[in-house]
C-alpha cells in the first residue's frame, strides 16, 4: 500500500549537483535483493562511504539533519539513467518524502509517483533559490499544488507546480494504480478480442 501524501512541512536537504543519476542514488551492487526492505541503507552509498567503507565525515548526507530533512532538493535533471525503482525506494527508505528539482528524468518521475515519493518540478529561478537556501523549513502542499517558502526576511513565496492529475489523485489518497487498471479489465478483454 502506497503512503498517501497531502501536505508536508519539513526541512530541505540540498544536493546541488546536476544530473544525479540513479547509479549515484543506489549503486548497482545493491540491486541483488529480492525485496525493498533495507534498500535505504544503500542510498547514495558511494557518496556517504569512502573506499574503506567508513562514513565520509562532513558529507551533508551524513549529518544528523539529513535524516530529519524529508525534502530533497536535487540539481537539474535529477534521477537520469537506469530505470531501477530501487532509486525512489532508497530515497524513501533514507527518509525523504519529496524530491524537488528543475527537471526530473521521465522514468524516475514515474517510479517516484508509483512508490509514494512526491516529485516536484519548479521553475529554474525558484529551484535556484532553494539551492541557495541550502537548509530551512518549507511546505509542500499537494492539495493546492504549491511549495510555500518563508524567507528569513519574512517574505513568503507561494510557488505553484503542475502534476499529472491522475498521479496527484493516487498520491493524495494513497491509491494503488493496479486497482484502477484492474477495473479496466472489460476494456482490456475487448481490446484483445479485436487484435
Amino acid at each position: 500500500m502506497m503512503q498517501a501524501f497531502t501536505r508536508l512541512t519539513g526541512n530541505i536537504l540540498v544536493l546541488a549537483q546536476e544530473n544525479i543519476d540513479t547509479d549515484q542514488i543506489i549503486p548497482g551492487r545493491f540491486l541483488t535483493a529480492t525485496n525493498f526492505d533495507d534498500i535505504g541503507e544503500g542510498a547514495f552509498a558511494d557518496w556517504r562511504y569512502d573506499d574503506a567503507g567508513e562514513l565520509v565525515a562532513g558529507h551533508v548526507l551524513n549529518q544528523a539533519r539529513a535524516r530529519h530533512s524529508p525534502i530533497l532538493v536535487g540539481g537539474h535533471n535529477f534521477g537520469c539513467g537506469s530505470s531501477r525503482e530501487h532509486a525512489p525506494r532508497a530515497l524513501l527508505g533514507f527518509g525523504f518524502r519529496v524530491v524537488i528539482s528543475s527537471q526530473i528524468a521521465d522514468i524516475f518521475k514515474s517510479n517516484a509517483q508509483n512508490t509514494g515519493l512526491l516529485p516536484v518540478v519548479l521553475k529554474p529561478e525558484q529551484h535556484a533559490r532553494l539551492l541557495q537556501m541550502d537548509a530551512g523549513e518549507i511546505t509542500v502542499d499537494l492539495e493546492r499544488c504549491c511549495v510555500i517558502v518563508c524567507e528569513e526576511s519574512g517574505e513568503q513565496h507561494n510557488w505553484p507546480f503542475t502534476m499529472d492529475p491522475f498521479a496527484r489523485h493516487c498520491l493524495l489518497h494513497g491509491l494503488d494504480r493496479l486497482d484502477f487498471l484492474s477495473q479496466a479489465e472489460p476494456a482490456i478483454q475487448a481490446y484483445e478480442n479485436g487484435i
Binding site: 535533471n77 525503482e85 521521465d106 522514468i107 491522475f166
Partner: protein
C-alpha cells in the same frame, strides 16, 4: 497531449500509440496502453511477482512474457562440481527467485541450460520476439534498443512490471515526439556508437526528456540492424523515453526465419504490414533536428555523463559549469589535456549496446595478430550464448585470447558491474557499454565510452587511441 485523429498524417510513434490504446487518455486519467511483449530479468522483477501473489492475480499473458538471466549472472564458467561463481549468495538467490517465479507463473525463461540465454535486449531481437509495430517494455531503461525494429519500446519500474504481469497494460501519458534526421553517410571507421555519442553530445543527456525520438535520414537507412540497435539503445542516454527507426527491407531481412516470427507466407504478409508503419510524409513532430552524419569521427567520452565526448585526437574541452568541472576532477583530467596521454587499465567489450556479433568481429579485426598492452586487462563478453557460439565458430575467441584478453560467457557483466566483473577504484576503463556515470562500473571507476573498434585499439596501445593509430604503429596479421 492528445493524439492526432487517425485521418491526419501520423508518425510511426502515433501509429503505434493509437493502435495500442485500450482506453484513451482523458483530462483526469492516463491512457491504458496494451503491451505486446514484456521482457523480464532477475533484477527488476521479484517485487513485481510479489505484487501478483499479494493480490492473488495470475500472469495475464505468459505467452507475451519472456525472461532471461543476465544482470547478476557470473560470466566465468562453473567449477568442476558445476557450481557457478556468483558474487554473493544473494545474487544466486535472485536468479533462483526468477526461476521459481517463471515456473509458478508459466513464463518462458532462458536459464543456464538455454542455448539462447543472453542479455535481454540482445536475446529478444535474436529470437525474433522483437517485431515491428509492437509495444515492448522491460524493467530496464535500455529497452529503447528494440525501437530499432519500429517498435515502441521503453523501460519501466518494478511496480509497473507488476502491472504488466497482471493486466498486460500500462498507464501512460503520451510523450512528446522528436525527429532526428541524420543526413549524409557515416565515414569509414565511424560506427553507430560514435553516431549515438555525437547525438547525445549535441542535444545533451537530457535533450530527449519527455520525448520519443524517431531517427530518420540517409545515415540511418545505411545502418544494419545491429547498428540500429546500438543507436536506439543509447537513446535513453539523451533522456528520451524511447528511440525508433521505421522498418524497411533491412529490418525484414534481419527478421526472416527467426524463431518467433511468423513463418512462410504469414511472414511475407506481416512484412507488408510492417513496411506501412513508416511515418507519413507530413507527420507532425514536436521537435525536429537535422545533423550531418558525415562530419562524425570516432568518438570517446571523457566525463561522467554520456554527453561529455570528443572525437579521438581532440583535447579535453574546457569545463563550462561546476558539474563538468567536478566530472573532470573525478576522471582526473584537465581541460586542454591530450587524451592520448591517458593510460587505460581495463577494456570492456560487451553489453546490450555493443555485445553483438558484428561488435565482436570488429573487436577481433583490431586484435588479430596483435597483443593488448601488458598492463591492460580486457574482457570480451558476448551479448548472448548464441553470439558466443557463433563467434567461436568463426574463431574470434581464439583471436581474443591470443591477444591476451579474456573471453567470457554471455551477460551484462562490467556494464553495471553487479555480477563481480568490476573496475577497481581509480582505474580507467574504456568500455563499449552505455553509461560512464561515476562509480557505474565499480566504486571509484573511471569509464570512457567508445565503440568496440576504439576499445580494442585502446587495449592494444594501452592508452586512449584510435584504430588508425594501431594500424600505423603496429603490424597486424
Amino acid at each position: 497531449m492528445v493524439s492526432a485523429p487517425e485521418s491526419q498524417p501520423q508518425s510511426l510513434f502515433d501509429k503505434l500509440w493509437n493502435t495500442h490504446l485500450v482506453q484513451a487518455q482523458s483530462e483526469t486519467t492516463p491512457a491504458i496502453l496494451y503491451i505486446d511483449l514484456h521482457l523480464v530479468h532477475e533484477v527488476t522483477s521479484p517485487q513485481g511477482f510479489d505484487l501478483l501473489r499479494e493480490k492473488d492475480i495470475a500472469v495475464r499473458c505468459p505467452e507475451r512474457t519472456l525472461a532471461t538471466l543476465d544482470h547478476s549472472t557470473p560470466t566465468l564458467p562453473p567449477d568442476k562440481d558445476g557450481r557457478r561463481p556468483y558474487i554473493t549468495e544473494q545474487a544466486q538467490r535472485q536468479v533462483q527467485t526468477l526461476r521459481n517465479n517463471c515456473k509458478e507463473f508459466g513464463i518462458e525463461l532462458h536459464d543456464w541450460d538455454s542455448p539462447s540465454r543472453g542479455v535481454v535486449h540482445v536475446m529478444g531481437p535474436e529470437l525474433g520476439a522483437t517485431q515491428p509495430g509492437m509495444t515492448i517494455v522491460c524493467g530496464d531503461s535500455h529497452t529503447s534498443t528494440h525501437g530499432a525494429f519500429g517498435a515502441l519500446a521503453f523501460g519501466i519500474g518494478t511496480t509497473e512490471v507488476g502491472h504488466v504481469l497482471a493486466r498486460q497494460c500500462l498507464l501512460q501519458n503520451k510523450p512528446g515526439s522528436m525527429r532526428i534526421n541524420l543526413d549524409g553517410r557515416l565515414g569509414n571507421g565511424v560506427t553507430a556508437k560514435d553516431l549515438a555519442l555525437y547525438i547525445i553530445n549535441h542535444i545533451g543527456m537530457n535533450g530527449g526528456t519527455g520525448h520519443v525520438i524517431e531517427y530518420t535520414g540517409e545515415a540511418v537507412r545505411g545502418l544494419d540492424m545491429e547498428s540500429r540497435m546500438t543507436l536506439c539503445n543509447m537513446t535513453i542516454e539523451a533522456g528520451a523515453r524511447a528511440g525508433m527507426i521505421a522498418p524497411d527491407q533491412v529490418t525484414i531481412d534481419y527478421l526472416r526465419g527467426r524463431r518467433k516470427v511468423p513463418q512462410g507466407e504469414a511472414f511475407e504478409a506481416a512484412a507488408e504490414k510492417w513496411l506501412k508503419l513508416a511515418s507519413d510524409p507530413s507527420a507532425y513532430f514536436d521537435h525536429e533536428i537535422s545533423l550531418d552524419a558525415s562530419a562524425i569521427r570516432p568518438t570517446i567520452t571523457y566525463g561522467t555523463d554520456p554527453g561529455m565526448s570528443v572525437a579521438i585526437g581532440e583535447m579535453v574541452p574546457v569545463a563550462v559549469n561546476a558539474s563538468q568541472q567536478k566530472a573532470l576532477e573525478y576522471m582526473d583530467l584537465s581541460s586542454g589535456q591530450s587524451l592520448a596521454e591517458r593510460k587505460v587499465d581495463i577494456v570492456f567489450v560487451g553489453s546490450c549496446t555493443n555485445g553483438r556479433i558484428s561488435d565482436l568481429r570488429a573487436t577481433a579485426k583490431v586484435l588479430r595478430g596483435r597483443k593488448i598492452a601488458p598492463h591492460v586487462r580486457m574482457l570480451v563478453v558476448p551479448g548472448s550464448e548464441n553470439i558466443r557460439r557463433q563467434a567461436e565458430l568463426e574463431g574470434l575467441d581464439k583471436v581474443v585470447r591470443a591477444a591476451g584478453a579474456e573471453w567470457r560467457l554471455a551477460g551484462c557483466s562490467m556494464c553495471l558491474a553487479m555480477n563481480g566483473d568490476i573496475v577497481p577504484p581509480g582505474k580507467t576503463a574504456v568500455s563499449t557499454s552505455n553509461r560512464n556515470f561515476a562509480g557505474r562500473q565499480g566504486k571509484g571507476s573511471r569509464t570512457m565510452l567508445a565503440s568496440p573498434e576504439t576499445a580494442a585499439a585502446c587495449a592494444v596501445m594501452g592508452r586512449v587511441a584510435g584504430v588508425s593509430e594501431v594500424e600505423s604503429t603496429q603490424e597486424g596479421e
